[in-house]
Every structure is written in structure tokens, then in C-alpha cells.
Symmetry: C2
Subunit: 124 residues, 2 copies
């Protein structure tokens, strides 16, 4: 694979869409996708049984509700939700988050499909 | 694994060390380590034959020299050096970079061990 000629700007990518809770793919390395997602309001309680999920916040303030406590993630902070752990991300104001996931992850995990279930792995 | 109770602050982690070109582990998810590294001056030409390498800049300006062109990576931008691609990171002013790598990666890749070769996977 030839090296691309430019870096990827997260600000530019976040400017391409508005809808919350709908991760978009902006890069890949090895077997992992780099995704951007906007968070606003409350998502849905769910878990990913086979995957630790990392949330790296670049703008705003993300609250990750866990069953035993909440975790607040501010810009330039990250949090890893261990596999199998129920969680519900929430953001009072819109925030911007970076995810690193293998291909094929459904954003709502084990929760019933709903309006919050986003297309899987769309590139922007 | 129980979920930790707090997010990891990159600013706090970057404040714990000064030396450039010496990646420190600050988290892990699935089979990947989250590392922080400070860049200053010119590193060494090298490649990683088995691993794409992602550079996510959080502060400063990183120039990644490739054999055919240079790529400048500014804050909130990332660049992926494809596996097998020779590269030499350079920073005129100190900059802060996030890496995501499996355990065991030697920072200088295929280059001869030198003063720039850092300890492998120290946690901070």
C-alpha cells in the first residue's frame, strides 16, 4: 500500500456530518478502523461482548454511564469500557469522539435494533 | 475486568516525562496499547515490516519524512504509515503524539539499535 500524501483532519471530518450516534470511518490501520462520532443526548444501554471499546474525546464532555458509576470524559481524555460491560454514553451538549474498532461493530451492541442503530462502517 | 472509575488524561500523562522519542503506555484495549510520545528533533529512518503505524498529534506539528514526500501532521490530525514504509519523524518544536500499537513494538523498527531505541512498553 502506498503512503497517502496528507494527514487526515478530524475537524474536517467532523464537519461533514451532523447526526449524533452515527459513527463514520475516517481511516484504518492494521485491522482497525478509525471512526468519528458525534454524541448528543442519551444513547442506549448496551454492551459489546467481544470488544473493549475506547472513547477518545476531542471536543465537549461525554458521560459514560456504567451500572456502578458514571465516568466523565473531557477533551484529550479517553476511557475504555471493558468487553461485556453495560454502558450508556450521554452528552448534554454535543461532543466529538474518536473510536478505534475492528470492522463490523454494531454501535448498539446487544441492544435491540432501533432508530439509534447506525449503518455499519460507512466511510466519509 | 472491572471498569476503571476515571478517564485517562493525556495532559496529565504527558506531564510525567520529558524525554523525546520514548513512547509510554497509558492504556490498553483489546490487543492494543495506547501510547504517548513526545517528538523533538529528528528521529531515525526506519520501517515496521509487520505493522501500519498511526500517529495522532495532539499538540505541536509533526513532520513525517517519507522517501517520496513529507507529510505534516498538526493537532487533531492523524497519519498512517503503511507497514514496510520507511519513514523518519521530525519535529522542529516539541510535539505530543498518540500511538496505538500491539505489545512488543521496538520504536526504531528495523534500524540498528541506538540511543534512540527506547525501552519497550513501559507503563506510566
Amino acid at each position: 500500500m502506498a503512503a497517502p500524501t496528507h494527514a487526515v483532519s478530524l475537524a474536517e471530518k467532523f464537519g461533514l456530518f451532523a447526526e449524533p450516534w452515527s459513527p463514520k470511518v475516517v481511516g484504518e490501520f492494521n485491522d482497525l478502523l478509525v471512526k468519528v462520532v458525534k454524541a448528543k443526548g442519551e444513547f442506549v444501554w448496551h454492551r459489546h461482548d467481544d470488544m473493549d471499546e475506547i472513547f477518545l474525546v476531542t471536543k465537549g464532555r461525554l458521560t459514560i454511564q456504567l451500572r456502578e458509576h458514571d465516568v466523565v470524559v473531557c477533551p484529550n481524555e479517553f476511557f475504555v469500557v471493558p468487553k461485556g460491560t453495560e454502558h450508556c454514553p450521554t452528552a448534554h451538549e454535543e461532543c466529538e469522539v474518536l473510536l478505534f474498532e475492528p470492522a463490523g461493530v454494531v454501535n448498539t451492541g446487544n441492544a435491540a435494533a432501533s432508530d439509534l442503530t447506525a449503518p455499519v462502517d460507512p466511510w466519509i
